[in-house]
């Protein structure tokens, strides 16, 4: 892990020193345990703070579209920066979708592809330790050592505290990046749609109750939308006023409309990075619903988001023999 970090820092330093990029987006130590915070390194000196460990979960692609918009306070000509992103494969796939949808210019992005062994889910770590965790250290035999706020130490298998997105990840190894950092990655998950078939086997009534149960926790903070790299609309449908799609209150029907709309808009975009899940302050099980869209798009159109720059986004195109078993015939 440490070796990977050093190589990543070196790559970042080289890119900045050579003037190939103006900015490296990476991670640095923050003030919260089990979470790294985004780092915007603008010169070679700043790269010493870059880190790589089990807590670099955030999808930094979310910052990209904003970096290529002319700032409001700049008058006259403005040149878009060239930005390198320290990216796990899921983040890189988000970047590819953004490029395909013309949200960021390909020539201005350098992908630093990181090998990924899965990221720790702080909530699972808290649960495993049964207390507030202040530190998490890798121990031998794929165990982790969790230090709690009370000073206690709990051991847990590493796999048990990894994020669901990582446990179900089909693409952990870097591929197609501009700079590939060598290192060990997790094996691809055998079943990328973990809990879906279980949920699908419930009755319609049970599914609806479960959906409403999850969504009724929502406080409409829109953190899921803000954290999602592929939710890039300048004005979200939920905030449009002409016409107004939904009321602004906490009425369940409006909240359901928001989530159905938001998740549906991810069709052909969602890479399953779980940025929405991490951002949710109410622990809504969004993954259970976002995965369905991903699975359907794969099954119906054979499309997996972020795999190649050449494939057309699935909902912008069609095939003459697309599935139409859902059509009602009199």
């Amino acid at each position: 892990m440490h070796e990977v970090e050093i190589k990543m820092r070196e790559a970042a330093r080289t890119l900045l020193e050579s003037g190939k990029v103006d900015l490296v987006l990476g991670f640095e130590q923050g003030s919260l345990p089990l979470r790294m915070r985004p780092c915007f390194a603008r010169n070679a000196g700043a790269t010493v703070g870059l880190v790589w460990n089990d807590f670099c979960a955030n999808n930094l692609a979310a910052y990209l579209p904003g970096l290529f918009q002319k700032p409001a306070d700049v008058r006259g000509s403005w040149t878009a920066p060239t930005v390198a992103v320290v990216a796990k494969r899921c983040d890189a796939r988000s970047v590819i979708e953004l490029i395909k949808e013309n949200q960021i210019p390909r020539q201005n992005v350098v992908l630093i592809g990181m090998p990924c062994q899965g990221m720790v889910d702080p909530r699972k770590a808290q649960e495993a330790a049964g207390a507030n965790v202040t530190a998490c250290k890798m121990a031998p035999d794929k165990q982790v050592e969790l230090t709690t706020a009370e000073g206690g130490v709990a051991m847990s298998p590493r796999e048990a505290i990894l994020a669901d997105a990582c446990l179900e990840c089909a693409t952990p190894a870097p591929q197609g990046a501009d700079v590939e950092i060598p290192g060990p990655s997790r094996p691809s998950a055998a079943n990328p749609y973990g809990r879906l078939s279980e949920f699908e086997s419930l009755t319609a009534r049970e599914r609806w109750d479960a959906f409403v149960g999850e969504i009724s926790k929502c406080i409409r903070c829109y953190a899921c939308r803000q954290a999602c790299p592929n939710c890039y609309c300048k004005t979200c449908f939920i905030e449009q006023s002409k016409p107004t799609w939904a009321g602004v209150g906490d009425e369940l029907s409006d909240v359901l409309l928001f989530h159905i709309g938001r998740i549906f808009h991810q069709a052909g975009r969602c890479v399953g990075c779980d940025a929405c899940v991490r951002a949710c302050p109410k622990n809504i099980d969004l993954r259970l619903f976002t995965r369905k869209i991903v699975k359907d798009v794969q099954e119906l159109f054979g499309y997996v988001p972020g795999m190649s720059l050449d494939e057309q986004p699935p909902l912008c195109t069609f095939k003459e023999d697309d599935n139409e078993s859902f059509i009602t015939h009199p």
Binding site: A204, W208, S241, I260, D296, P314, F318, D322, F326
Partner: protein, 156 residues
């Protein structure tokens, strides 16, 4: 454009169970299905009167959100109908729509929205009979399900 979140009174009038009639919104494409409905009319074909038609230029014009929104506004069922594949006035609008609807229908089913609330179909301008039969089927389906309550926003 009107604020569509203020629900029209007629759409959310409380159901009197004895006299309940399904309210169905049909988005019909201008070039085929709307003309098909017209043909059903001028041919004096009988079909249920539960359907309210909204004419759209193309089935590709139908934003999936319209369908969810209609259910929120209190309709009991939604039908979207366009030209048969290959017959689109705009060459491929219905083929792109077909992809959107396939994902939407499967997603709504997954979330537990009652099967049969949302229908998609193709009706050409010469298929007056098919249109009448389709409305009969959709109306029967939705009548069997009863009033839609899952997404409805209750009137204050």
């Amino acid at each position: 454009m009107a604020d569509i979140s203020t629900t029209p009174d007629a759409a959310v009038a409380p159901d009197a169970p004895s006299a309940w009639e399904p309210r169905i919104v049909a988005f019909l494409c201008n070039w085929c299905s709307y003309a098909g409905a017209d043909l059903a009319g001028v041919s004096r074909l009988q079909y249920p009167t539960n359907v309210r038609v909204i004419r759209v230029p193309c089935s590709g014009r139908v934003n999936p959100l319209y369908i969810v929104k209609a259910l929120q506004l209190g309709v009991d069922g939604v039908l979207v109908s366009g030209c048969h594949p290959g017959d689109c006035h705009y060459i491929s609008g219905n083929l792109v729509a077909r992809r959107k609807f396939a994902v939407l229908k499967s997603f709504l089913h997954y979330l537990g929205i009652e099967e049969g609330r949302v229908h998609f179909s193709w009706v050409s301008a010469s298929e007056g009979n098919r249109f009448a039969d389709l409305i009969q089927k959709v109306s029967d389906d939705i009548r069997r399900l009863g009033p839609a309550r899952q997404l409805r926003k209750e009137a204050k």
